[in-house]
Amino acid sequence: MTGEMIAFFLLALTAITGGVLLINLTNVVHMVVALIFTFIAIAGIYITLSAEFVAVVQVLIYSGAITIIMLFGIMLTRHQEKEKRAPRLKMMLTGLAIGLFFLIMYGKIKDLNFGQQDAGLHIDNTKKIGVELYSHYVIPFELTSVLLLVALIGSIILAKREDDEKEAKK
């Protein structure tokens, strides 16, 4: 039992607990707070996988930005304080289908192993990512900026009140 093993089990346990709480809690705000634990635990998993930069991005984007934007979405819309459950039959059928999917995938991946090589991914991790992004992946990188701009303008236009346009025409 090495330290990495213990860290992995603790982080995996936190991540799965957050996910199970998301399914079982009834208050919508509590669900989102439970998911913050999952996101931070996944950032820890990235560190054990020697991907420090991705871990920091995960904390910034997921635990910071996306959870806050979802909380805004909950606050701006009226909702029942207690979430009603779906009909029991629908939940059972969905659970059964997902359980089948889980078993099939588990059978395929349980013995998957490509051997371990020491690639030294953790050495100068951020520098390597920067060099790759600006050399080999420069076109997808620039396309991503266009995508973000489109998403920014598109969400502003979608969420804008429609009577503003009518007033503008007058």
Binding site: L49, E83, L121, T144, G154
Partner: protein
């Protein structure tokens, strides 16, 4: 040298993906459905980063792909929430069961 096998990471990702799928299919609040989809994307990211370290040719490609996925997920969350708010303004509900205009 690490001692956690690749299969353990893949198992964690599979469990999180199944939880996200279940939440996306059974939850009724549209915000929770969106956030379940984010959880599924996160599970896929774990797979990408795990394969970046433990594949036959370890390299940075998996980590860079996971960065792109995170970007797309952030854009998706913003647009999804904007659609949700526009829908809420018209229908006064965020319940996915009541969003059935195209079924009627």
């Amino acid at each position: 040298m690490s001692s956690v096998p690749l299969a353990a990471y893949l198992m964690l990702a599979l469990i999180l993906f199944c939880i996200g799928l279940f939440g996306a299919l059974t939850k009724r609040n549209a915000v929770i459905v969106l956030i379940s989809i984010e959880l599924m994307l996160n599970a896929v990211n774990i797979n990408l980063v795990a394969f970046a370290k433990y594949s036959i040719n370890p390299g940075m490609t998996g980590q860079i792909f996971s960065l792109f996925t995170i970007t797309v997920a952030a854009a998706e969350a913003a647009v999804g929430l904007a659609i949700l708010i526009a829908l809420y303004r018209n229908r006064q509900t965020v319940n996915v069961d009541e969003m059935d205009t195209m079924k009627r």
